[in-house]
Every structure is written in C-alpha cells, then in structure tokens.
C-alpha cells in the first residue's frame, strides 16, 4: 500500500517535472534567413535580422499555461500525498483529479503541437526571388524538430500519462478498499 502511494506520488512529480522541463526546452530550431528557437511557452525568432512575432505562437504560449497548470497541480498534489499523514481518502482523490487533468492536458498538448508546427511549416521554403535587379538570394528556411519534441509529442509521453493515471486510480481503489475493511 505504501509502495503504491510512493509510486503514485513519484509518478506525479516525475510527470510534472518532465512536463515543466520540456515546456521550457527548445523544441524546434528554425534555420536560414528566418532563425531562432521555439519552445512551448516562448519563442525567439528573427526574420532577416528583425524580431519576428507570430500570433499563432503567442496564442500557443498562452494556451500552454493549461499544460503548465496540470503539471504544477500534479507536483503539488503528489508532494502533499507524500508529506501529509492523514486525510488519505482526500489526498488519493486529489491525486486522481490531478492525474486525470494530465490526460486532458495531453490532448491540449496535441492541439498546441499542431498549432506550433503548422505555423513553423508556413515559414519553411526558399525566399529566393527574381526582381528587376536580378536574382535575390536569401536562402532557405529549415525547421528542425529537436529530440525533446519527439519525446513531448510522442507515444512515450502519452505512456507516462497513462501509467500515472492507472497507478493513481489503483491507489485510490486500494485506499477505499482499506477504508471499507476498516
């Protein structure tokens, strides 16, 4: 029982920390005449030497607060689960609530990935063009997904969420079963 509680708390903290770390990490690198790095919560992109502001990436930063909230909630509730002695049922339920929020958050994350990738794909391509002065060679923009993006938006992250939810629910069932026995 204690092992299950510890596992649920550890998974909650791990999920939260991984999510916070990945949200702040650079996920995409933009190279060429438009260059910079994009993470979930922020981005710095320069286009031909001037800062570039994208409404879609700004919107993604705002909406990523939902993902960050779920991560923080999981860390806080898991820490509470570890530290607090009493209120076992309340803590187990809170942990399940936080774990379920991570499921919703994973869906939000998928949407944000599409939003960010769609915006960045719009920048990909050659900016060379021909004018009366000749061929203006500006180069080609390439977007590269970094390894954290592969993990964040891939099946491994979904697996962590699934395991967290499953362990949290199992812990809750055990808590209720023990209360029933008592």
């Amino acid at each position: 029982m204690r092992a299950l509680k510890l596992l649920a708390a550890a998974l909650g903290v791990a999920y939260g920390m991984i999510t916070l770390a990945l949200s702040a990490s650079p996920l995409y690198l933009v190279r060429g005449p438009v260059w910079g790095a994009v993470s979930l919560v922020t981005y710095r992109i320069w286009a031909f030497g001037s800062p570039f502001y994208s409404p879609a990436l700004d919107a993604a930063s705002v909406l990523s607060l939902s993902v960050l909230f779920s991560a923080t909630l999981n860390i806080a509730v898991s820490a509470w689960l570890l530290v607090e002695g009493g209120h076992e049922r309340v803590l187990a339920e809170a942990h399940v609530g936080a774990a379920l929020s991570s499921v919703v958050s994973a869906g939000v994350l998928k949407g944000l990935e599409r939003l960010v990738r769609g915006e960045l794909m719009g920048l990909v391509g050659s900016f060379d063009h021909v004018t009366s002065a000749g061929r203006v060679i500006l180069g080609r923009v390439v977007v590269e997904a970094l390894p954290p993006a592969g993990f964040f938006f891939g099946p491994a992250y979904i697996a962590i969420v699934a395991v967290l939810t499953a362990v949290s629910l199992t812990h809750l069932v055990h808590v209720y079963a023990r209360l029933g026995e008592g």
């Binding site: 031909f48 030497g49 509730v77 339920e93 929020s101 958050s105 939003l115 009366s132 203006v136």
Partner: protein
C-alpha cells in the same frame, strides 16, 4: 450560504459575464492580450476592457472574424466601409476588414502584474479555506473538484484570449531590391541605380562584362543603392569595331539587411551603348574633332589642297581619340583646302568632308 461564499460567487459570475461578453455580443467585454504584436502598449497577458462604441484612427479596437478568432490592434486607416488595423509592433498593417467586424473599442488596460497575482492569491486562499469542507463531502467529490478546477482554468484561458485556431502565418517583410536604372556614362562607366526594399548592396564580390561571348573582368565601386562599374576600354573598342551596341554586365554582390544578416544578389544587366558620330568642326585653318563615345576611335584625316586649278595635293594624319577627347588638327595653308575625316564607328566606316 456565508457572506464570503456569496461574494466569491458574485465575483465569479461577474467575471464570467465579462469574459463571455465577447462571445455573447454584450456591450462590454474583457479580453486577454494573447500576442506581442501590440507591444509596448499592450503586453502578453494584459487584460483589456472594451466597449461597443464608435472608433477612429488611433483607437485600439477588437475585430473578430469568428467567435474564436479576434484581433486587438490599432486603427491606422478608415476608408468607406473598410478598416485597416496594425499591431504597434508589427512591420506591416493587417489586411483591410469590413467595418462591421470591428466589435469593440478598448477603453481600459489592466496590466498583467495587477490582475494575475491577486487572482491566483484569491483562488489559493479560497481553496485553502475550503479544504476541510472538501474532506467531509461525498466519495469522488475531491477528484471532481480538482479536475473541475483544471477545466475552469483552461476554459478561462481559452475564453479570455482571442486566439488563432486557423493557420494564418504572420506576414513577413521579405527584403528585396529593384533596379531603377542602368546607363552608360562617359568614360566607359556603367551606372546602376537601385531601389532598396529592406536590403541594400554591401559589397560587389565579382563583376564581369560580356560582349559577343567575350568576357572581361570589371571593377565595381559603391554600395547602398548605387554602383559604378568600370568596363575595360578594350572591350568597348571591340564593340565599336564589330558594331555591337549591347553590353552585358554580370555581377554578384552581398546584400545587407542589418549587421546580423546577409543575402546575395546575382544580376545580369543589358546596357545599351549608343554610338554617336564624331563632332567635326572646321574653321580658322584647323579641324576640331570631338569623340563623344565611351571608347577610343581611330581617325584618319586626309587634307587635299591646291593653290590654282590643277591636280590636288594630299597629306594624311592619323590619330586615336580617347573617350570624351577633342583633337585639333592644323590644316595646310593653301588657297583651296579640304579635309576628309574618316573613322570606324559601330562597325562601319563614316566620313565627313569639311573646309578648314
């Protein structure tokens, strides 16, 4: 219900009404700034209070094309039924939108520092005070309460922030450069004038003058919006002798937008070379010949003279007149004198007969 609970409920309802105002078309709405296009006037996370009212150039307005896609930008032009807006931080204005899409005029800005920390603190204090009550409630309520708090937070974010759910890639100002004019100056200099559109010429890396398959390196000076190319005189002389009047200048140059970015320009320019006849004037015992062309011209002057009727005597003089040069040839002093000036121009022999 306690007074504090009632106050919290009223506050939540009031906020919800204001947040939903944009979607429901109420006369007043609260919107969160979700982009950086209006910096420094409006920053990401600031709340704006907007009302339905008239607007003019300079006002910050909210226009929406759908319930989930709204833009908070400043009006820069109103023409007829169209309104043009622009983010203070954007390089280019937005596409014009019909006046009917402009829903609100921003009347008040609440900086993020003023609303976010107190709001989080209030929610935190409220949750802390309710922790014991939560412990007493029925099975599953705590889990639902935690999940619901997450849903409410996410929903508030989605409702507050006018967001993009369509892929409209932000407009990029792509640097460019156009050719304004290309012409030949005296002395075999080709002047190239450009119109820079965010990019100007920094340095010429390579320059080549091409005529009839013949290539010769040329020197180019200048930068910014103009270049001067020095075409080798031998090439111009070749053009003159072979009757060619189109000179091709090829150059590769680096373009600069600012210190951190470089582009390149590969230009091929066809420059017409107008071959003009030499100006030949005679009088006062001399013949004056002026070459207005960019290349040197070889000139033969044949004098024919006689003092009385009979056979003509002849004397010849050859000279090379450089570009823009004038030569004065003294004629023999006799009663009857003619000068026959012959030269090759644009591949053909031209001649002028004058009486000094």
């Amino acid at each position: 219900m306690r007074v504090s609970d009632l106050a919290a409920l009223m506050a939540a309802l009031a906020l919800l009404t204001l947040v939903l105002g944009r979607l429901a078309g109420l006369p007043i709405a609260v919107v969160m700034v979700s982009g950086r296009s209006m910096e420094p006037s409006l920053r990401l996370g600031d709340l704006v209070v907007a009302v339905r009212s008239g607007f003019g150039v300079g006002d910050v307005v909210i226009w929406c094309t759908s319930p989930t896609y709204c833009v908070v930008h400043r009006v820069v032009n109103v023409t007829g039924g169209l309104v043009v807006t622009k983010g203070d931080n954007n390089p280019v204005p937005d596409a014009p939108v019909p006046r009917g899409l402009v829903r609100y005029r921003v009347v008040l800005t609440i900086p993020r520092e003023l609303w976010a920390p107190p709001a989080l603190l209030l929610v935190g204090v409220y949750a802390y005070r309710k922790r014991r009550a939560l412990a007493q409630v029925q099975v599953g309520r705590v889990a639902v309460a935690v999940l619901l708090s997450y849903f409410l937070f996410s929903l508030t974010l989605a409702l507050l922030a006018p967001t993009y759910f369509t892929h409209n890639v932000a407009p990029l100002r792509v640097p460019s450069i156009n050719l304004r004019s290309a012409g030949l100056w005296p002395g075999g200099l080709v002047a190239l004038n450009y119109t820079p559109l965010g990019a100007s010429i920094e340095e010429v890396e390579a320059c080549l003058a091409v005529v009839d398959g013949l290539k010769a390196p040329c020197a180019a000076e200048g930068g910014g919006d103009s270049l001067v190319v020095k075409v080798p005189t031998a090439l111009l002389e070749y053009m003159n002798e072979h009757g060619l009047s189109i000179l091709e200048v090829r150059l590769n140059a680096t373009l600069s937008c600012d210190s951190s970015w470089r582009g390149r320009l590969a230009g091929r320019y066809l420059v017409p070379v107008p071959w003009r006849p030499l100006r030949v004037e005679a009088g006062g015992g001399v013949v004056r010949i002026y070459n207005p062309n960019p290349a040197a011209v070889r000139v033969n002057v044949t004098f024919m003279w006689a003092d009385e009727p009979g056979p003509w005597s002849r004397s010849e003089a050859s000279l090379v007149l450089g570009p823009g040069e004038e030569a004065v040839v003294e004629a023999p002093r006799h009663r009857y004198v003619y000068a026959d000036v012959r030269y090759v121009l644009a591949g053909s022999i031209r001649g002028v007969r004058v009486r000094p």
